[in-house]
Symmetry: C2
Subunit: 257 residues, 2 copies
């Protein structure tokens, strides 16, 4: 562990907090990053919220963060589209975080004759919204989805995630989407570009092997697994591809900054 | 073609009419069945409508039919559940046709602690409805779907069918449903039971190889393919398992009644 990283991409739930519970070591870790002036982005598969809303949530857990340090999969999706086609017309199913990100990149949100269809988490979904998504995909629009998470944990239990919502369009049209969020590398690439860092100098930090760690591995980055969330040390040991490092809590990493 | 069948199961769209277009030979065929007093049921994967609504539609195409001669996949689903558990609690996503069928079988429709989850075509779907379906399936409810049709033809184009709507729950929970409608044999078995006929004396009539003809074949019945709908004679010739008969129009079959 002699390597010093110039920048960090950091997961949120399970890494910075646990549901509604504060993670003390995470707060200390982020404060140390700030004191040393080390660039870092919080990278999340949550497509629903705007960056300022996510930053506000982090602040309630005593984790200092500004809106500019939040990188959502909605932002990655919008940035991906703009790089491909700056004047794209986009049909999007999603909440304020997605619509805000698309508009921020100067993309046009429309109902028909679209170049792209984007599926994001949408708790106001409807048959008509699915119908428009299918018609646009059948007419040749490029099909994207902010993330493939099949379920999201809530106090009521596991509720449908965006991956399952996306499947309506996949199954009905026979067209597979490109997923942007973790564990895909696209969100990692977009985040490093946003923070102006190279893959060999950036460390991806997260608790979930199947999303955070694989996203880092898929993007050719070094990865730091932290045992405060979904994937335990025991589970981790069973996978073929291992993260670069695994630690119990993030304060252990402060001496390596 | 020396065999005379005691009863008929008959598909609707593509067989009795084409969208909003009358099929003359179909009308003559059904009138001949009635004159000879041959029992027949119209069997449809449409889960949305009540039998009286379906019969009314047939009447507008000059095809005589009473509500008692309509067998929808919603009715097959309700009958299937009652046979397994007469006092079942059922969580259902669907329209009036499904709710009517479940209530007709004396089943209890509920939101939680359900024995069964049934997915049917629902143009008033919502995230909350999907959430309840997933929670019930995760809690152990038996997962059924009225039919696996991935898309339905409309004047706007192909819109999402029940098979694609069902996939939200399948993908989110990892549990595969039992499909009831064509091409599954369950709807055929339930229809023959409803009309009190044996498989060897009943002929399944339809235009669509992948739903109607395969349903008959899967149920071990003889099948009559009619070339007025989806599957052409040329397409038909490419399949391994052939229907028992194929004809251009249903009036050709009247001499065999």
């Amino acid at each position: 562990m002699d390597k010093t990283y110039k920048g960090y991409l950091i997961d949120l739930d399970g890494t910075m907090y646990r549901g509604t519970e504060r993670v003390e070591a995470a707060s200390d870790f982020v404060k140390a990053l700030r004191e040393k002036g080390i660039p870092h982005l919080f990278v999340t598969n949550n497509s629903s919220r705007r960056p300022d809303q996510v930053a506000d949530k982090l602040n309630t857990f005593d984790i200092p963060a500004e809106a500019e340090q939040i990188y959502t999969t909605s932002m990655a999706t919008a940035s991906y589209i703009r790089a491909e086609k700056p004047d794209a017309k986009v049909y999007a199913m999603g909440e304020v975080g997605l619509m805000h990100a698309l508009e921020n990149e100067g993309l046009t949100i429309a109902d028909e004759d679209c170049d792209y269809v984007v599926m994001g988490m949408d708790r106001e979904l409807s048959y008509e919204k699915f119908a428009k998504a299918c018609l646009n995909v059948r007419a040749g629009a490029t099909f994207l989805s902010t993330n493939g998470d099949i379920a999201i944990p809530t106090e009521r239990g596991m509720l449908p995630g965006n991956g399952s919502i996306t499947s309506v369009v996949t199954v009905s049209t026979g067209v597979e989407p490109t997923f942007i969020g973790k564990p895909e590398s696209i969100i990692m690439e977009q985040a490093m570009q946003a923070i102006n860092l190279k893959r060999e100098e950036t460390l991806m930090v997260g608790d979930n092997y199947h999303t955070d760690i694989l996203a880092g591995i898929n993007a050719g980055m070094d990865t730091l697994h932290v045992q405060t969330g979904v994937t335990t040390k025991e589970q981790l040991s069973q996978y073929d591809q291992q993260p670069t490092y695994t630690i119990q809590t993030l304060d252990e990493w402060i001496p390596h900054l």
